[in-house]
Amino acid sequence: MLPNTIEALVKIALLIGALITAAAYFVLLERWIAAWVQDRLGPNRVGIPLTKIRLFGLGQPIADGMKFIFKAEFTPGHVDKFIYFVAPMTIFMTAVIAFAVIPFGSVLPTGIFPESWGVKEPIQLVAAPGVDVGMIYVFAIGSIAVYGVVLGGWASNNKYSFIGGLRSSAQLISYELPLGLGIIGVVLTSGSLRLDVIITQQAQTGVWNFLTQPLGFIVFTVAAFAEAARLPFDLPEAEQELVGGYHTEYSGIKLMMYMVAEFLHMITASFLIVILFLGGWHFWALTDGIHSAGGDMVTWTTAILRIIVLLVKVMGMILFFMLARWSWPRFRYDQLMDLAWKAMIPCGLVNLVVVALWVEYGERLAKYTGLPTIWCMVALGWIILALTWFVFAWFDPTACDNRPRHRLISPDHQTEEIAP
């Protein structure tokens, strides 16, 4: 009992510390990338406090944090006080506790605790190891995060916040469907909702899920961008249109909670994409050596290499998130909804049906063609992707007429239909 408690507490402390620090430094990275893409240098002045050492601006997060803490925290008189206070806590808390089931490595070798304590199992690098509903838990928590946004927008009693909250509730709820459809394919092939099992399955076959299910990967990634409310889907807080969206009326530490939660969502989304589709900690010839689920004996080198590989992949994904912000223009609100309901959900369904059929009849098909099963599936996945993409581009379900309604400008209906 005692070793387990110690283990859990150490992992929780490590996770929370690492996450908050990471979120602070990702703010700096975001600003750097924004600056570099715009041919600027970005923050490079703040170094070690009270000295003149600059350290490429690595002290900036400390300054940012201090600023947020010591800034005047202003609560407008017209807000609903209780909900106004609860909303940022909700979004921050849910963003943090979603990490309980997300693995940040595979396992550590045995022998950390003294032998007399009787610990047989190697330490799993998850805050809550062995949660069988892993994915469902992440989704449930992700859905609660919407409340933080909606309640914040509602409690602020301000039209910008309100529109931001409305937009984001519609967006986040819509994009949960393709997000779910994207993972059902993965869950079908791996046969488990546990994230560590999903990684192990990819490590055993040596073929990552984005190769076998490219369509599911695209649907999931797009939906994850929308769920993290990142550009090109950052409609909830489109600063050019809505001042700041749902957090217009927030300041000081409450605003910081929203900001940190936003970055934590991005980190969660990157972790999920990497774990579900990009092989988690697996990298060919580097972190192999797994033969049965969780039962492999890892050395310290392998364990650390696996953590590094996973974190490097997540870092790459986050860099892509940040680059994407400057690469493509924001979707208009109706285009965003069209994309979810008319393109992403059908694509996700196609992927789901193909994977389900494969799970049922795949072996027979592979035997028939004579190819190795996994490569047969890879080929099928890419053919389905090309076909679906072509069909969707051909029929273009998201196309819309951008002009004001024609009837209004045709001579027959000139006067009566135009509102004063």
Partner: protein, 176 residues
Amino acid sequence: MKPNDNSIQWIKEPELGMAGRSYLMLFIQGLTTTIRHLFSRKMTVQSPEEKHEIPDPIIYRGVHRLNRDEQGRVKCVACFLCATACPAYCIDIVAAESPWPDREKYPQSFTIDELRCIYCGMCEEACPVDAIELTSLYDLSGKSREEMIFDKEKLLSIYDQTKDLEPSRTERLKKG
């Protein structure tokens, strides 16, 4: 303007081809543009260690100066044309009888509120004797509002500072 206004001409949007509708080319285009800029040369000038390079200091509109003539006297004849032309009303001149025989008046005091000035350069254009000019000094700062109200001595000292780098218009005309 209502949607049925006759002066509106609705232009049909160009049809998207397969490349546009598949969104693939746009995806690649956007990403290559950002990645190219990520590694391109940065334009930032690291003020205050580095200074902006001013392409042509003659036409730059920075802090004002009051020019001196060959004998070191203030050139201004207190005609009030600059104060009249000034859209921000930041020039204040007190004229007095000139102690020199070649002109009737001279400015007893000549103050410019640099905080009020909008640096439009109208005073420079209005001046009939090229006495007031805008220099290329752009980083002026002060600790109080009073400090930013420049009097005649201050404006003349700016001329002494900048006359070598930026000769006054009269001197430039003389050189041809």
